[in-house]
Subunit: 722 residues, 2 copies
């Protein structure tokens, strides 16, 4: 059924196609529109017990009428094949060509080609392929060309058209337009079958995702599928989160693929008396992102944690970086923000980051925070900041900048009389899932993220050559930061307090703002040590129970040099899930709970997601704070490598960077490094001056040495661990 | 072919339908969305010689995900049938019902029903029908419900959801959802056939609109149709504006209806040797708006002008009020504005006015003037003003007010340093089609319309209970008006000059601003007389050659009491077109031209539209300035009737008003009046005191008398004309 549908998609395209190599030509569209359209499809695939369950925020739309524009200069006339998604016309030098040509002959010399495409249900897109003229991102696009004519037929010569470079996304086959995009699938089988008094339960051996396929299905009557991330869930026909029901009427035997993908490890299959089938398998559906990073070390439990984290992230890396595969499958900004960071240490896949950022942002006007959550708006800005830091892709920043500005305008318009961000009607202050966490008044955590977002605006204003607003944003950021420390820093508690209510700081301390303040580098050294002792390592401050915020808590501790402590925490926390049989990491984990209690959330016995992207943070922590690779200037033009074993005997891994990897091996005696890009500084502590195979170690302070790492050279450093 | 398509539309609907009377239930959707969606379909139907020809402004989109919400209170449980356009769910008291129910049983008592509908290609819409619970405009809708849940499953209790009343549009049949909307068609035949050496020319006897139907079409090869508003155009295969080409391949004989409607009087049919057919007819396509107004008088030429004007307006009254049926078929704001005014004197059809206003306005953000034309933005505001004046429908004003505000914000943001509207890049200053008309600098005409638009904003701010902005808009309007008279009024010329350039008024006088200033009542009596003599009746001021601006020119003269002169102008100008064989009125008419010269425009031999809505203005002039019926307060709560024969011996007619008509008969001796609404003042001049059958005449001044007209009473007044 699914397969047939995909095939049909391809056949639906306009005919008359010849074999085309199409190496350079690619489908193009208006920037951001495919991302929004695809996210609408994706986010409306959620079901809850068979019922449609769409998002609760505004879904934006692609522009339905687009002008594609290209000035070309040919040395000889050229035949060009034309493929289009939508109703269209072709203009050569502003003159309409007859009808809807599937092939046009372009004259030699300098000319202008324009195509207008209208498409309501898909994104207007074109693919042109001639000997030299092809569609690519050198084409310009607009959603309003404003090209009126006067009574004599003369085209306006003072149009205010805003042209943008066209977007593309690797759709290089004229027969596979953007609307036909599907993730890959591959067949997979259950590893175990368990007969029930009625029906059977299939166990696919681990958390997985895809389309159930029922082979040789026939007969008359109902067939039900109950999906479970746990066996308990698959058995709970009245409370499992997802299910499918088919109704057959004299169906002849055939293989049926369920139309909607699901997350599961177990599936209970329950057929009515009149219905039979041969067997049940699945089509595993996955993104083809490439694993570029890796990590291995002397601790096998950490290695298993790393592998399950990788699998968890891969399952949640789909058309977009989503939150979890069982339930929402939505593009949540706070969740995706963590996936971006993990991505930089595993796939370094820029397209999925850009697609997710564009989908979250949508279009103007802004009528709510991203996903309705104030913090999630700020994570969106921070995602842009990090994207630039890791990739150095300034063209994407320039493309996003107008939408960044209007979103920031929305935020600035919602400040209270003290210039702080306080929840207004319709604003969800999320922070974390934590019992009794106060969202009242002006929460320090939100001001901190607001400040970082303003700093991001200033950075991007500079990239977008908007010097005037750069200054404005810098001043606004400085103002918020001043207020943060004047109003929230409690010297006695050595912490930022949780909130102000009615203009007065509370004396309640939580971890959130304090841990972010550390890796944002907003604290001086005394403050850092105070926070470490009085907040992070203080059991009287409420503990964090989600991997989501454990991500930042452990990052803060790593930033303070507590890798040994963090390694043990990883083993306890992620290792704890593994000991309970987890094959992917969870939305929430509280070691105090027992048995099926672990599966409950949102007031539902199986409400919790057992495969949540934010559970995969060891990928990031191990890459950034153990292998110790981090960019200093955008796109790894310069970077540092600060290996920290944290109690391991040895570790080895790759961190992907633009154009290749940075490879690091580290034991207590020896470090090996090779990098494919930029200029790095290897920072290490040694009792004696390290010996460098291919360079020299320079003493920086006390026992810290620095080795300059040049591109594509192998370094071997022997040293004496402290 | 067309018929088949329509039928298929209906069959595509969700099945399981029982016979339903459905008197009260109606399809509902988010306000404005159907109008925008339908206008996208309509405006993308334009072709030029067979090529797709879409608009050059931004096309907006409907919201693709909508929540429909209803609190109900049933005395007994009730079965409700559910019909939906799109993917959907149903929630009862915030709990999801299983799957996609086509029927739900609602419990007795007070409960809440929610439905979420996602639909990309059509407008999300629902139709529910129970014994008492039905979909209607008492339902609420939103495009973002912001109803998040916390970790315990509790729904947010501080949502900032903006709920609006749902919109509906007379779709009361569950099997005919909004997306299936089509205008009516009826078969029609040519009145004459002319054999050509190759092919034939059919003459349908007058301008018409619809789908050509070819009966018994069969064979192999091409068949071409060349459409002509004139015989010359249908014969000009190389330059006619619209055509169709079919290609047949061993087609068995069948009746084929062309998929796109066209405007024509003549059609040349040209079949290849291998193609044959039995005959050619058409399906005339039309709006079912009802004629409520009428006019008859002692001058048969005026009667013919009135009838052809009616036919012209009817052809251009379609899904929307469009500009002309042959070429653009777009929703142009300046053109539609005149149709609104004519509509109030012929159909009084509110839905087509509202649909057109909503379609033109589209959605935020505003990125250009309406249709890219500055004056057309202002006509949009004026259209709102008049809609309220004629209908008194304040709920529509309230619905539109936020979109009015953002459009006015756009205008205010584009004022120059002197606070005036000057064309910026991308702004088309249209005014009129007139050779050599200057659009440079700050054109007085635009300031005048800007001022009226600000007055409209103040009026609507009051209706929308926005007292603060009412004052702001009034101040802004007063400021523009002051500048208009301080800077543009030339005492010597007794006129507003055409423009200022570089801050200096020119001494060039055109008719535009001056004639609008008269019926906007911006001039004092001396200024009015000055303008009349020095501008309107001055042959040295460039003449107007479009019925578009003749509309306002003649209105201004009527407002000055020049009905005798205007009657002669009507006979000359519109009568002139009739003498040339016009069966509908034209986009432009210059009596100085000869033969086929009349058909040329935009540099093309048949570029001119011979059926243009703005050609139908006699409907308005005769109703408003001869029968003399005009509302004083909104919705004809109070009104005046000032009959002016203007040289006619007698006239009689009806002007539609809310709830009925106002009937007026007038000769030099006798006036008869009956009104279905409000309280009127009949104003008449008489040498002697008029005798009133059913009331009394009160002397107001000199020889002017006033008779109060009460609802549903017949009055007969005898008087002595001056």
């Amino acid at each position: 059924m699914l397969i047939v549908k995909r095939f049909a998609m391809i056949l639906l395209l306009a005919g008359g196609v010849s074999a085309v190599a199409a190496q350079e030509a690619t489908w193009i569209w208006y920037p951001g529109d495919f991302d929004i359209w695809l996210s609408n499809k994706m986010q409306n695939r959620r079901t809850e017990r068979g019922s449609f369950f769409p998002p609760f925020w505004k879904l934006d739309n692609h522009y339905i009428l687009i002008n594609f524009h290209k000035t070309f200069n040919l040395t000889a006339p050229e035949d060009v094949s034309v493929y289009v998604e939508g109703e269209y016309n072709v203009k050569l030098d502003t003159k309409l060509l007859p009808g809807k040509p599937s092939q046009v002959t372009l004259p030699a010399g300098k000319h202008v080609l324009d195509m207008k495409v209208f498409c309501q249900d898909r994104v207007p897109a074109i693919y042109l392929k001639g000997k030299t003229l092809v569609t690519d991102t050198s084409w310009k696009v607009t959603f309003e060309d404003k090209e009126w004519i006067d009574a004599t037929g003369k085209v306006s010569d003072q149009s205010g058209t805003v042209w943008l470079p066209a977007a593309s996304g690797g759709f290089n086959n004229p027969l596979q337009p953007p609307s036909a995009f599907r993730l890959q699938v591959t067949p997979a089988s259950a590893v175990r079958k368990e007969k029930l008094s009625q029906g059977e339960v299939l166990d696919f051996g681990k958390e997985t995702f895809g389309f159930i396929k029922i082979h040789g299905l026939k007969g008359t009557g109902g067939l039900s599928l109950y999906y479970g991330e746990s066996r308990e869930e698959a058995m709970a026909t009245e409370s499992c989160e997802t299910l499918d029901r088919l109704e057959l009427q004299n169906a002849p035997a055939r293989d049926s693929v369920l139309p909607l993908s699901k997350a599961f490890r177990y599936v209970q299959v329950n057929a009515a008396a009149g219905v039979s089938y041969d067997s049940v398998s699945m089509l595993y559906e996955y993104s083809t992102v490439q694993e570029k990073g890796n990590f291995r070390c002397s601790d096998e439990e950490i290695n298993r944690i790393y592998d399950v984290a990788k699998y968890t992230l891969h399952l949640n890396t789909r058309e977009f970086f989503i939150d979890g595969i069982k339930r929402d499958r939505w593009v949540w900004s706070g969740d995706a923000y963590q996936s971006y960071l993990m991505n930089y240490y595993l796939y370094f896949d820029e397209p999925t980051v850009k697609r997710t950022l564009l989908a979250q942002r949508g279009k103007d006007p802004v009528s709510s925070h991203i996903n309705t959550i104030m913090d999630y708006t700020f994570y969106w800005f921070m995602g842009i900041y990090d994207y630039y830091r890791y990739t150095g892709d300034s063209s994407f920043i320039k493309q996003c900048y107008p939408r960044m500005q209007s979103l920031m305008e929305y935020c600035l318009g919602r400040r209270n009389k003290d210039g702080l961000m306080e929840g207004l009607s319709g604003d969800w202050i999320f922070i974390d899932w934590a019992d009794g966490l106060s969202k009242q008044g002006e929460v320090s955590f939100e001001q901190l993220l607001f400040c970082r977002s303003l700093e991001t605006m200033a950075l991007c204003a500079e990239i977008a050559n908007d010097a005037k607003h750069k200054d404005t944003y810098n001043q606004l950021a400085a103002d918020v930061k001043t207020k943060l420390f004047n109003w929230y820093w409690n010297t006695e508690k050595q912490a930022l307090v949780h909130s102000r209510i009615n203009g007065q700081p509370t004396d309640h301390v939580t971890r959130y703002a304090n841990m972010f303040a550390i890796f944002f580098n907003y604290l001086n050294n005394d403050q850092k040590q105070g926070v470490k002792k009085q907040v992070l390592l203080n059991n009287n401050v409420p503990a964090i129970t989600t991997p989501y915020m454990r991500f930042y808590e452990l990052e803060a501790l790593c930033a303070l040099g507590e890798q040994n402590y963090v390694l043990q925490e990883m083993k306890n926390y992620w290792g704890g899930m593994l000991k309970l049989g987890a094959t992917s990491f969870w939305e929430e984990y509280n070691p105090a709970k027992k048995g099926a209690e672990h599966y409950a959330m949102y007031g539902r016995p199986f409400g919790k997601s057992l495969c949540h992207a934010w559970g995969a943070s060891p990928i990031y922590l191990l890459g950034k704070y153990y292998l110790g690779v981090t960019p200093v200037t955008a796109g790894y033009d310069t970077y540092t490598i600060t290996p920290v074993l944290g109690g391991l005997q040895w570790m080895e891994g790759d961190v992907p960077v633009p154009g290749g990897n940075i490879h690091v091996y580290c034991s207590a005696k020896e470090i090996k490094v090779q990098s494919a890009t930029g200029t790095g500084k290897l920072l290490l502590n040694s009792k004696t001056k390290p010996v460098v195979s291919n360079g020299t170690a320079v003493l920086k302070s006390g026992q810290q040495y620095e080795v300059t790492i040049e591109k594509n050279k192998a370094y071997r450093i022997t040293y004496t661990a402290l």
